[in-house]
């Protein structure tokens, strides 16, 4: 299916607009659960606008890599988002890359993020880069195995195909393969979007931060693009989970009623997953760095079990 410019434009806009909202919701609900008032759910939009309007201070040691990184991160997350089906089952850019393309693009963004962390010669940035790349490395096999499990069932790495084939009767959602692969990917999601058992998005303490450490030298416009890119990446991963494992209500074509139902279902699924993230974040403490591999190996084992169970149940 050829990429449709209208679909691309709409999905781009959707990604750009919904990403800060989800971050805002997570922050707000987390505060509510901890009986704080918390920032408004719209706060990330104001933050981004403020960052964009600010002057920038750039380190004297930084090179062009430092300036290129925000754009690479922003654009690679957006591109990855265009390959994932959101409201409509047919992703606008599925022809240009399926799930492997999404993983590759997110990895490209991470590569530049880590380089941007090292560039200003600060020890914090180096520490963040080192940890980020380590965690990504041990999260990757679990993620790939879980995705392989799904892709094998669907016979394709094209996300639209995967969504099509995982549709069907509701009881399929209770398929053990499905459940375990979902659990594995959910753990990976927590690691990849810098959520609490792995990283703490609210901290600025040098011993605990990973993602924030790399952003430490960024300010103004660059910071806006990096934060926005990270928010989009989070939405991409949430969407991946929502639509691959619960393709309920996803629009099969672009007729108006389908779209209306699809949008509502998509938003609900996204918010439900965000709520799950909030629950995990409030009920868990951050893990010590060298305990994170245990968590991610659990995810790997879950993915392996999911794969094995295809023998038993299919």
């Amino acid at each position: 299916m050829k990429p449709d410019p209208v679909a691309i434009a709409i999905q781009t806009a959707l990604l750009l607009l919904i990403a800060p909202l989800i971050s805002g919701c997570i922050k707000n609900w987390k505060a509510k659960l901890q009986t704080r008032r918390g920032p408004r759910i719209w706060q990330p939009y104001f933050d981004l606008a403020k960052f964009l309007r600010k002057d920038m201070v750039i380190s004297e040691h930084a090179s062009w890599i430092f300036s290129a990184a925000p754009y690479v991160i922003f654009l690679s997350s957006l591109l990855a988002g265009l390959m994932v089906p959101m409201v409509v089952a047919q992703a606008p850019l599925s022809l240009y890359g399926g799930v492997l393309g999404v993983i590759g693009l997110l990895a490209l963004g991470r590569f530049f993020l880590a380089l941007g962390g090292l560039d200003p010669a600060s020890a914090f940035g180096g520490m963040g880069s080192s940890r980020e790349m380590t965690i990504a490395a041990i999260a990757e096999p679990a993620m790939m195995l879980a995705i392989f499990t799904v892709a094998i069932t669907a016979g394709s790495t094209d996300l639209s195909q995967i969504v099509h084939s995982s549709g069907g009767p509701l009881w399929k959602l209770l398929d053990p393969t499905h459940v375990m692969a979902f659990a594995a990917l959910f753990i990976v999601l927590l690691a990849e979007s810098c959520r609490i058992p792995v990283d703490n998005p609210a901290t600025h303490l040098e011993l605990t931060m990973i993602h924030e450490a790399m952003l430490l030298e960024y300010s103004g416009r660059y910071l806006a693009f990096m934060e926005w890119g990270a928010a989009i990446k989070q939405v991409v991963l949430l969407t991946l989970l929502a639509n691959v494992f619960f393709p309920i209500g996803i629009a099969q074509d672009t007729s108006f009623p389908m779209l209306a139902v699809g949008s509502a279902a998509y938003l609900l699924k996204l918010l439900a997953l965000a709520a799950a993230v909030v629950l995990v974040e409030t009920t868990n403490a951050k893990l010590r760095l060298f305990r994170v591999p245990d968590l991610l190996s659990a995810s790997f084992v879950l993915a392996t079990l999911a794969l094995m169970s295809t023998f038993l149940f299919h």
């Binding site: 040691h61 180096g126 080192s130």
Partner: protein
């Protein structure tokens, strides 16, 4: 043979010979030796590349007959060559790298003026290129082994080029020994094949195929796996590779990592797919397992290195592993009778072969340029080079992105093909063995992510932040010819990444030759914009499309900038230093520190050891002097090779009793040997 294709080929062989002779003629005159030997090599590589491309695209490669290069007087020894598709494909790799490396060497060899003999370097460089070319052309086992040996010896001479250093001499000897263990296995393998076919020509081996007895065939498989495996650097036969590649001059390291270890891949492909017929299942399983283990261990050891060239050498082991994953999967598919899938897996392996050749050579050339200007291979003494060597940094970054398998460059494309063939492999069999496919896929993902971590470290510590030593602070950009050499490879990397469907046309004749004609599929779609797998709705990728789309999205940040950021200013300031008085390079993250989390996570493998000595006056918290030493154990060295070494030495000490120096004893030995042989003959 008088088509332009073979004319170019012969011309290139001749030019390599002329280049080798020219180097020796001008032994005492470095400038002339440099110009002539590397100049001739450049032209020769160009001719060779043209010839191979024409043969593959024009379709003549498939029908090329075997031809005598030089007449031979001795029976069985025939100097026959044949430019078939597989050989021509590897010929493209040699010529491409030969071209870029020769141009680079024109500038690089200047560093040796007055210090070393450039004529020798140029001469052996040509001999190595010539012999490698002939390895890919040889159509007779004898001729193959002769060129193979010339290649190994010239490579040995080049590795030992800077033989004043003990490290170099040791590495050279290690390479020599390992390489000859490999050659010994190859001789045995060809003799086993000869036993069945009665001829040394490759055509007769090809005709053998399934007619061999299973036991015989398995023996041939194992012997060749070891023989070619040593050259390719598979785990656990890899130990010579991280020793020999770094000590060679950088242009030679690039040639060794790019081309030389690929001769092992060529040999494996030739024997497994061309000679041995339908494989039993365990062959594919073995190759896939070896590939997976090599890939993961290679990258893990690479992460522990802070010697830039050793790091790259370990990555060669990783990439050979990835190539073998493709080949192993192809063998498994051939066993289960899925030639289409075997084609896909083989293409994945071969595509990664040329990709690895290009980006690894590019990275070695970058490392060479850095070494040339900072005089150190230790990353802990580098830093900030992106400001002093901007072009080298850019080229190295492209190589780093490519080797980390990130879109949109070539490493991503070939790993994507590998993933796809592994994924489809799951459906080819009902046995439990099929779990190997997704598990290898997961290990490939681990490899890719670790490689990315490793190259963030390699690029970040070497090129970014503040210079960590005086050498790095006073570095200078490489000579223009050196940049041109790197530039050629960079462009090739981008081309292979963005236009895979164009390049695949060169690979189709190879799969047709090895797996039978007309598999009835085409991986290209939408006029070559999109790459697809063989399955219906299996998956598509378009690196070019990604780039174009990214360009289309570029207006978004631009508009936001204009809309919100009008009139914002950029101020250059110091990095946040927590209120100290300025950051010093000592406060930066080091290469060792960067890989520490990974060292801790995989400590069962690395068994890290560290010694810290503090000298202090009154309290340990205020040390006046700290000495820090960290080691990582190389399991294969300490667990396999060192005990083996001891065993050999002990055995030879026992044997020494035989060699008493008395002539009477020797006469008795000769007599006994004669008797035994006579008895044997009865």
């Amino acid at each position: 043979m008088d088509n332009p294709c073979s004319t170019f080929l012969h011309l290139s062989l001749l030019l390599y010979v002329v280049g080798a002779v020219a180097g020796l003629l001008f032994l005492g005159r470095p400038r002339l030796a440099n110009l002539f030997s590397f100049g001739f090599a450049t032209v020769a590589a160009l001719c060779q590349g043209l010839s191979c491309l024409m043969a593959l695209v024009g379709g003549t490669a498939a029908t090329n007959a075997s031809a005598r290069l030089i007449p031979s007087m001795v029976p069985y020894v025939e100097f026959t060559v044949r430019q078939d598709p597989l050989g021509a494909f590897f010929g493209i790799i040699v010529s491409l790298l030969g071209l870029a490396l020769s141009i680079y060497s024109l500038g690089y060899a200047r560093g040796f003026y007055g210090r070393k003999n450039v004529g020798v370097l140029g001469s052996f460089f040509n001999v190595l290129l010539l012999s490698t070319t002939l390895v890919f052309l040889a159509d007779n086992a004898f001729f193959f082994l002769m060129t193979w040996e010339v290649m190994a010896l010239s490579a040995y001479c080049l590795v030992s080029y800077e033989h004043e250093q003990e490290e170099t001499r040791k590495a050279g000897v290690l390479y020599f020994i390992m390489s000859h263990i490999g050659t010994g296995c190859l001789i045995l393998g060809f003799l086993l094949l000869f036993q069945s076919s009665g001829s040394y020509s490759f055509a007769s081996f090809h005709a053998l195929g399934n007619t061999m007895e299973p036991a015989h065939r398995n023996a041939v498989f194992l012997v060749f796996l070891i023989g070619f495996g040593v050259k390719a650097g598979i785990v656990p036969l890899h130990i010579w590779l991280p020793a020999a590649h770094p000590v060679a001059p950088s242009n030679v390291s690039a040639l060794m990592s790019g081309v030389l270890i690929k001769t092992g891949i060529y040999g494996l492909t030739r024997v497994f797919f061309d000679f041995l017929g339908t494989p039993p299942n365990w062959w594919g399983v073995t190759v896939l397992a070896i590939g997976t283990i090599s890939a993961v261990l290679g990258v893990l050891y690479a992460l522990m290195e802070h010697d830039l060239k050793r790091l790259l050498a370990y990555h060669s082991i990783e990439n050979i592993g990835i190539i073998l994953m493709g080949l192993g999967a192809a063998l498994m598919f051939l066993h289960t009778g899925h030639p289409t899938l075997a084609g896909l897996a083989l293409i994945a392996g071969l595509y990664h072969t040329i990709n690895h050749a290009v980006f690894k050579a590019l990275l070695f050339l970058g490392a060479g340029a850095v070494l040339h200007s900072t005089h150190t291979r230790n990353m802990e003494e580098m830093g900030g080079l992106i400001k002093r060597m901007p072009w080298t940094a850019f080229f190295f970054l492209i190589g780093a992105i490519a080797i980390s398998a990130l879109p949109p460059l070539n490493g991503f494309v070939s790993e994507w093909l590998t993933y796809q063939s592994l994924l489809q492999g799951f459906g080819t069999t009902e046995s439990l063995i099929r779990l190997m496919f997704p598990l290898s896929g997961a290990m490939l993902a681990l490899t890719g992510a670790l490689a990315a971590a490793c190259f963030v470290k390699a690029f970040g510590i070497t090129f970014l932040a503040q210079p960590r030593s005086q050498h790095a602070a006073h570095a200078h950009e490489a000579a223009p010819t050196m940049l041109l050499g790197q530039g050629i490879l960079t462009v090739t990397c981008v081309f292979l990444g963005l236009f895979p469907t164009v390049f695949l046309r060169v690979l189709y004749p190879v799969t047709e030759q090895l797996l039978g004609p007309n598999l009835g599929w085409d991986l290209s779609r939408a006029n070559g914009l999109v790459l697809q797998t063989t399955a219906d709705h299996g998956g598509t990728i378009s690196t070019l499309g990604m780039v174009l789309m990214a360009v289309c999205l570029l207006p978004i940040p631009a508009v936001l900038w204009v809309f919100f950021g009008r009139g914002t200013k950029v101020r250059i300031g110091p990095t946040w230093d927590c209120g100290q008085r300025g950051l010093t390079p000592q406060m930066e993250y080091t290469a060792t520190g960067f890989s520490k989390p990974i060292r801790m996570i995989f400590k069962a493998l690395f068994r890290p050891r560290r010694e810290v000595q503090r000298e202090y006056d009154f309290s340990p918290y205020f040390a006046t002097n700290i000495r820090f030493e960290a080691h990582v154990e190389e399991v294969f060295q300490t667990r396999i090779y060192r005990p083996l070494n001891r065993l050999v030495l002990r055995a030879s000490r026992r044997m020494r009793a035989l060699q008493a120096g008395s002539i009477q004893a020797y006469l008795i030995y000769i007599f006994i040997t004669l008797l035994v042989l006579l008895l044997f003959a009865l």
